[in-house]
Symmetry: C2
Subunit: 334 residues, 2 copies
Amino acid sequence: MAKTVEEIANDLNLSVTTVRLVLNGNASKYRISQNTQKRINDYTAQHGYVLNYAARSLKLNKSDVLGLIIPRLSNPYFSLLAERLELTCREAGYQLITCCTYNDPQREMQLVSSLLSRNVDGLFIAPASVKTQEHHLKLATKPVIIIDRDFGHDDVSVVVSDNALAAEKLTTEMIRHDPSSFLFLAGSEKQPSISERIRGYRNAMASAGLKIKRGSLYKEGDDSTENGQKMMAHYLEKNDQLPSSLMTSSLPLLEGALNVISERYGYIPADLNIGTFDTHPMLRFLPNRIWTARQDEDAIVLSAFRAMIDAINGQSDTVHNIVPMQLIQYVANS
Amino acid sequence: MAKTVEEIANDLNLSVTTVRLVLNGNASKYRISQNTQKRINDYTAQHGYVLNYAARSLKLNKSDVLGLIIPRLSNPYFSLLAERLELTCREAGYQLITCCTYNDPQREMQLVSSLLSRNVDGLFIAPASVKTQEHHLKLATKPVIIIDRDFGHDDVSVVVSDNALAAEKLTTEMIRHDPSSFLFLAGSEKQPSISERIRGYRNAMASAGLKIKRGSLYKEGDDSTENGQKMMAHYLEKNDQLPSSLMTSSLPLLEGALNVISERYGYIPADLNIGTFDTHPMLRFLPNRIWTARQDEDAIVLSAFRAMIDAINGQSDTVHNIVPMQLIQYVANS
DNA sequence: GTGAAAGCGCTAACAC
DNA sequence: GTGTTAGCGCTTTCAC
């Protein structure tokens, strides 16, 4: 089935050059005769021809493949991001390969090596730590664009959301609605977008003249459902009742927290105010008042992809792009 | 940076064979001298070596890459499936490339060609229609495993859930709880897993001696949020009130329907019984009584992957695997 | 308008 | 224990 250029040339008594010229659409440019063109087209119509990218890639030392390395696809923010990025890449003739680290630095490094040896033309990475990021930058012979978390290196291109500002606005809105008691469950501060969100939270509380009570700000572990469960369970051990406002630094953490709450109470108390980041279609169906700071996936994808293309083309001034988030409120007027 | 085997061999005054033997861990097998091994290992430790997969793939006519073609990643069922499949593939030494069709048959066919020319060793596909499936099978020179939808060809391996049975059980449970009025929003019957679900629904209604009222069973369009909105809006135009039980054939349809309901009423009436397929962590937090027939992603992935490996190894008896679903109920005891 | 040939980096078969 | 070599399918340069 899969004929090669040479086979076609032999079968048709032509040279590979001639065949390639028409296969690549340069027939008219090099004035290949109509007859020859027709013979070739007829042949491929009948026998089919698929370009062998391995050979092309070997010769040209580029693969038209880009890699995306993220924590998990089951985080709706990342699955949306992956979807959009794949589309954008495809439209520009690139194939995207998406891989998940499951928050495992070891796996993250393996993935980078693996994709590199697969000859990707560039990598988008949401790195687990400064250390892994440095590892990647040292290893990579191709452009790397860091997304989602800014570890403050300026020798690499970074695209992130304006986490601190968004967190501040989010918190301010929630305080305005009900300042009585807050609980903020966050992942580890070592993850810069988290620490930024915590910073924004602190700013807002300070501006409002509110103290952050002991045991009302958790910042440990990763961005997983399990960790959300753990932190919420711990809070409920120490406290008799729920806070009036619950904030989480990510959707998985919120899921975990709500898991524990709904198990404890049998349902989610509708008067619990909820604040979080990113969104999922289901979120707005909760009876609660919900604020969420939504990252602009489209803008992030666009910015990151442009940075990538520029880097591939050698305009490798590193880019530091901070994309504004949007504050959304869901209210059920029951 | 990226040294080739030949460069290493030259620099060390060895032959490529010798270098390869130790690089591939066959040193002891061929009794390469300790000294030579050390020299090579030291060299690569210092200069690094990354296998060039393009060259390997060209030579061996295999890439250790598998392709997954699905409608969308933003459907939580598929993002979970993709996550699991990627893990399984990686553990077996395969790289997975996941692509989305956005329910566009044209794009689906392009994707197949594109992945084929990237020399994937096999394809997992959830095809849009019989036609596209036939197209793929004709084109593909590598194994194809069909997932999620069974168009009834027995010359291809298929792994699907037991949609009809699960739908029947689901409906029966919902009838038992409240038989008063049903609305079932489904995608197009041309999609076999949907038609199976409708069949199960019909069976259950018949067994319970219930008639399916005119305008209470929608089966048109695709499996998208937008389509769910459209169908629900249409229903509310024709009917003054909500049904007592709402079923949808997929999560995106449910999201769409709930969108319309929450816009119309300002909230989701808690006494609306909901039945659907697949699940999302957020689902259980709705105040409603919810039944869902959950597909067993792990079992599906395992079965599909095994079928793939068998096919790659030439044991190409086609497999027809039907994986049982699990019925889950979420109840808020408010 | 068309053709010939080198070479990308790897593997496998065969030498010695 | 180690070395030589052909060739996978493509692109590019040069030739006629």
